[in-house]
Each structure stands twice: as structure tokens, then as C-alpha cells.
């Protein structure tokens, strides 16, 4: 240490009040302990669940599993059709729900002049978040499937799920917008930016991490959903014949297939599907983050 050479401690006060005296604050230690405890519980549970799913699922995965559709005659099982359907449902749902959700959040935070309207909308959005998915399923079936005549189709499923994940995206975006400092807004408006320009160039980039959080949670809801999709998107497992036509056809996601496997007590296949699902979620999440980075104008350095 450089200060070894320096004068020995002379002032009494310097000893008693020395900045080297690491004082132990009991409440701090307790709270730190609590933080570590909770984090380790979460992380252990997390690792446990993932580990279990992977250990049981990976042996099930084979080329055939990944590249064929189920065939009872041949007695083979494969999920490629469901993988494709999952991608369809996720992409279409996000294409519908993200603009709507982000738009609603922008309206609530930037346009609505406070007061009752905002509170009502916030309240309804939060209510929407607590409705069990089967109700969405039944509603989607009745409204999109029957009334609009879309039947069991990927589109019906995606529309239904869009309503379901709307609260997640809206509320998280709204929170993110709230945290953007007021000074950014006045800075932009003060030099004559139109509101929309200000939103586009300052608010959305700043709020991007929050929006991505919402989208990622929404992706989780979409891929993990079974009840709502069973009644709306159906359970078709064949590969699409044409790209856009598939949207109007029945298509079961991986989770639907997983659910049906559960019915038949085919746990191995179920865990295999779960593993594939996790990999897909990881990929989509990564993609979502990547795309959001392109939006972000913030200079990331120094």
C-alpha cells in the first residue's frame, strides 16, 4: 500500500472515525441477505425447471421429430407442422398487438389529457390481464370464428391472442414512457418538433427497453398458450400448402401439440416439444432485442 510509508496515525479522531472502519449495518445485511435469498430461490427454481425439461426432452429430439408431421399409420411423430404454425401465430399476433399496444400506450401517456378517460382505459387494460385464457378462447371462437366467419384458423387464433397480450404490451410501454425525463420532451418540442416526430425520435427509442420487455412477455404468453388457441386456431398439424392461404387454415401450435400429447400420456414427446419451444422462444426473444437495437438511437459508448 502506498500509504504504508506515510506518518503513523496521530489524531485520535482519525482512528475512531477512520474511513477504513467498515461498519456493519444490520438492516443492510438483512436486506442484502433477503435479496440474495430471493434471487437464489428464483435462479434455483429456474435452473431446476429448465434442467428437468431439457434432461427429459433432449433424448426425444431426432431429425424425424423435427422434420416430419405426425402419422398414425406409420406410427411416427414429428412436429415440423406445429413449429411452422407457432411461428405464424407469434408473428401475426405480434404484428397486430404491438402497434395496437404501443399506440394505446402512447395515446394514454402523450395525448390523453389525464383524468377519467385515461383511468378508465388503464383500468380496463388491467382487467383484461386477469381474464382466464379460456374465456378469450370462447370469445374469439364466437366473435372471430363464427361472427366474422374465420372458423378455426391461424388468423382467428392470432386475433384472439392479440387481445389477450394487449395489456402486457400497453402497460409496460406506458410505464417505460413515464420514465422518459420530461426535459427530453420539452427539449424536443422547444425547438419545434411536432409531437409525433418527438415521439418517434426521442420517446420510442428511450422507451425501447420497456417495450421489449412487454413484447417478450407477450411472446411467452403466445407460445405458452393452449386453452385460447384450442378453440380458435385449432389443431391442424400439416405443413402449409401456400404461404398466405395457411393463415385461414387451422393450425395447432407446439403447445397445442404438447397438450394433445399430454392427453395421450406421451410425456417424452411433450418434453421434447417443450425443449423445441424453449429454443424457439430464445430465438424470437433474441430477434426482438436485435430489432429493437436498430431502433435505438442512443449512442452506446464511454
Amino acid at each position: 500500500m502506498t500509504n504504508d510509508i506515510v506518518i503513523p496515525v496521530q489524531k485520535e479522531s482519525a482512528v475512531t472515525h477512520s474511513i477504513y472502519n467498515q461498519k456493519n449495518r444490520i438492516s443492510d445485511s438483512f436486506l442484502t441477505f433477503l435479496i440474495y435469498l430471493c434471487a437464489s430461490i428464483s435462479i434455483m427454481v429456474l435452473v431446476g425447471i429448465m434442467g428437468y425439461v431439457f434432461v427429459r426432452g433432449i433424448p426425444e429430439i431426432s431429425l424425424e421429430f423435427l422434420t416430419t408431421v405426425p402419422s398414425t399409420i406409420k406410427g411416427t411423430f414429428g412436429i415440423v407442422g406445429n413449429i411452422v404454425n407457432t411461428l405464424y401465430v407469434v408473428v401475426i399476433t405480434l404484428l397486430i398487438a404491438t402497434p395496437l399496444g404501443v399506440g394505446a400506450a402512447i395515446y394514454l401517456n402523450e395525448y390523453a389529457k389525464g383524468g377519467k378517460a385515461v383511468r378508465i382505459i388503464e383500468f380496463t387494460t388491467e382487467t383484461l390481464a386477469g381474464i382466464p385464457s379460456i374465456i378469450f378462447g370462447l370469445f374469439g371462437y364466437v366473435f372471430f370464428g363464427n361472427t366474422l366467419g374465420l372458423g378455426y384458423s391461424i388468423l382467428t387464433g392470432a386475433l384472439t391472442l392479440s387481445i389477450m397480450v394487449l395489456p402486457l404490451i400497453t402497460r409496460t410501454t406506458q410505464e417505460a414512457l413515464k420514465t422518459v425525463p420530461e426535459s427530453y420532451r420539452s427539449g424536443a418540442l422547444g425547438i419545434g418538433a411536432t409531437k409525433w416526430y418527438m415521439i418517434r425520435t426521442i420517446l420510442l427509442p428511450s422507451a425501447m427497453p420497456g417495450i421489449v420487455t412487454g413484447i417478450i412477455l407477450a411472446i411467452g404468453r403466445i407460445v405458452g398458450e393452449s386453452a385460447a388457441l384450442l378453440f380458435t386456431a385449432g389443431s391442424g398439424y400439416l405443413l402449409p400448402k401456400d404461404f398466405f392461404g395457411k393463415i385461414f387454415e387451422s393450425g395447432g401450435t407446439l403447445t397445442i401439440q404438447l397438450y394433445l400429447c399430454m392427453q395421450k400420456a406421451k410425456y417424452g414427446q411433450a418434453f421434447g416439444i417443450a425443449v423445441v419451444l424453449l429454443v424457439i422462444v430464445l430465438a424470437i426473444n433474441g430477434l426482438a432485442k436485435f430489432l429493437s437495437h436498430k431502433f435505438n438511437t442512443e449512442v452506446k459508448e464511454s
Binding site: Y111, I131, F143, P167, E175, K195, I216, T255, Y259
Partner: protein
């Protein structure tokens, strides 16, 4: 006077079309949520009220016997309501603190490298289908619970043994399932707290922990409340997983009883039911809906009150 073209008055569309379009679009988006809730509400009321009158409101809400498919059906859901209230409340009491603390850990305490591993994992957790949670519950949690159950009720003749499928299992699974929502939203709220507030607190001689709890958490309050509200929504709306681990028999919500939640009641019977039974299931949906509204109002009142007091 300057030439007219320089006038600050908007006049003919100098508030550009884009600007107007943007405002209109956002407004439409904003009211879309209301529209969605309104139509779903309408749908539930239309489907759910007939049974209320056919069976009788009191018989449904305060009856304790659920035998929908019997020759003389009975549609009492009191225990189911109580289970939902107690179960959800407990799950929130366990899940929310763990979730928020984990978020604090990820945003404030953990080294960046650890965060970068854990965060995507938490996000993955959100994508695991609830059926899998249920299956894991049956395979891992329930046997554990059963061991405890056998110890506690050894020799009991009145207790119906459930194999570990009980209220506690359901609460634990629910608490686990809301973690991703609570952790992710809280974490991004914490990260959005401006750095200068941390500097200000540290410069006053606050420890890191004091800074987190006295300055950062209060500043992130609004986001954390949202996390709690959305997490609560997830807990109330979840059915698939808990129907597997809770036993799903209609009983008093005691820790080691097999219990049924409102959502489970709807999900597991909806697809096979017919006639009056089905209508009653919609009535349960309606009850659940009222229940959600009530919780939201309570949460809003409890949590958001403090927020407004110092904002003038």
C-alpha cells in the same frame, strides 16, 4: 405584419396530415382496449346471467355443493370462490416479494455477466406452457407434499388423502408462474431510474442497499405496481397448471385439501359441458370477472394512493 404564410395559425392543415393521422391512430388504439373489454364483458354477461336466474343467485354464490352433471344438479361455488381468493392472495404474497427482490438483484446488485445469463432465462420461463408447469407439479411437487401430508394426517380417518394435490401446491406453482412477469417488468422499471438519483443518494452517505430501498425503489414505484398488477392478473387467470396440482375437487380451502379455483372450474369442464352446466360455467366466468375488477380497484387504491400525495 409578416406575410400570411408565416402565420402561426395552423390554417389549412399546416398541422400536417401525418400529425393528425398519428393522433387519430393512437386514439383509436387507446379505445381499442376499451372496446375489447367491453365486448368480452358483454359476451360474458349475455352468456353468464341466464344461469344466475335459472339456478338462483344465492344458490350459486353461497352453495357449497358442486354437482353439475348429476341427475339433480347442484351449482354451489362458495368454496371455489374462497379458494380463488385465498389461493391468489397467497401466491401474490409469495411471488411478488421474491420477484421484486430478484429484479433488484438483477438490476442493481448482480454483476452484469450474471444478469446477462439470468435475464434471458427468466424470459424463457415465461414461455414454458402451463401444462408443463402442471406436469412438473404432479411429478415433483405433489410427491413431496404427499410425504408431508402423510406425516401430518397419519392415522386420520376423516382426512381424504390427496397425494399431495392441495392448496399449497397450487399456491407455489402460481407464485412461480407470476415470477417472469414480476421480475421482467420490475427490472426494466428499476433500470429506467436515472443514474443521477443514485449518485445523489450515494453522495449523502447512503449505502448501496439504502440507496436501493430509499431512493431507487420509490422512484420505480409506478413500474413495480404495474408489475404487481399484471402478475396478479396472471395469477388469477391461470388455470391449466393449477388444475393439475391442486386436485381440483371442490373443498374448503384448507392447506392440505384438494381444492378447485374459479378458472379451473371453467377450463376443465367447459369443453365437455352442455346446457345449464355450461351456462353456469359462464356465470363463474362472470364471478371471476367481478373478482378481477374488485382486486384491481383495491390494488389501485392501496398502491397508487401514496403516489399522488406529493405530486400536488
Amino acid at each position: 405584419m409578416r406575410p400570411k404564410s408565416y402565420s402561426i395559425f395552423g390554417g389549412h392543415g399546416s398541422k400536417s396530415g401525418v400529425e393528425h393521422a398519428a393522433e387519430v391512430i393512437f386514439t383509436v388504439c387507446g379505445f381499442f382496449a376499451v372496446l375489447a373489454v367491453a365486448s368480452i364483458t358483454l359476451y360474458m354477461i349475455i352468456s353468464g346471467t341466464p344461469a344466475l336466474f335459472k339456478v338462483g343467485i344465492l344458490d350459486i354464490l353461497f352453495g357449497t355443493i358442486w354437482m353439475p352433471a348429476a341427475a339433480t344438479p347442484s351449482f354451489g361455488i362458495l368454496y371455489v370462490i374462497l379458494t380463488s381468493i385465498i389461493g391468489t392472495a397467497l401466491a401474490i404474497l409469495i411471488g411478488v416479494p421474491i420477484g421484486v427482490m430478484t429484479a433488484v438483484f438483477l438490476a442493481e446488485v448482480a454483476p452484469e455477466r450474471l444478469t446477462n445469463i439470468v435475464r434471458p432465462a427468466v424470459e424463457l420461463l415465461a414461455g414454458i406452457p402451463s401444462v408443463i408447469y402442471g406436469l412438473l407439479g404432479i411429478l415433483i411437487l405433489n410427491p413431496l407434499m404427499y410425504k408431508i401430508e402423510l406425516k401430518i394426517f397419519a392415522g386420520s380417518t376423516t382426512h381424504q388423502f390427496t397425494g399431495g394435490a392441495n392448496l399449497i401446491s397450487a399456491v407455489l406453482v402460481l407464485a412461480l408462474m407470476i415470477l417472469p412477469t414480476v421480475i421482467n417488468i420490475s427490472e426494466s422499471a428499476l433500470r429506467a431510474v436515472p443514474q443521477h438519483l443514485r449518485s445523489a443518494s450515494l453522495a449523502l452517505g447512503a449505502t448501496k442497499i439504502q440507496t436501493i430501498f430509499s431512493a431507487v425503489l420509490p422512484a420505480a414505484k409506478s413500474g413495480i405496481i404495474t408489475a404487481i398488477v399484471l402478475g396478479t392478473g396472471r395469477a388469477i387467470g391461470e388455470a391449466m397448471a393449477i388444475s393439475l396440482v391442486s386436485g381440483s375437487s371442490v373443498n374448503m380451502p384448507l392447506p392440505f385439501n384438494s381444492v378447485r379455483f374459479l378458472t379451473t372450474a371453467i377450463v376443465s369442464e367447459m369443453s365437455y359441458s352442455a346446457g345449464l352446466h355450461k351456462q353456469v360455467l359462464f356465470t363463474i366466468g362472470l364471478v371471476l370477472f367481478a373478482f378481477i375488477m374488485l382486486i384491481n380497484i383495491t390494488l389501485n387504491n392501496l398502491l397508487k394512493k401514496g403516489e399522488e400525495s406529493h405530486d400536488k
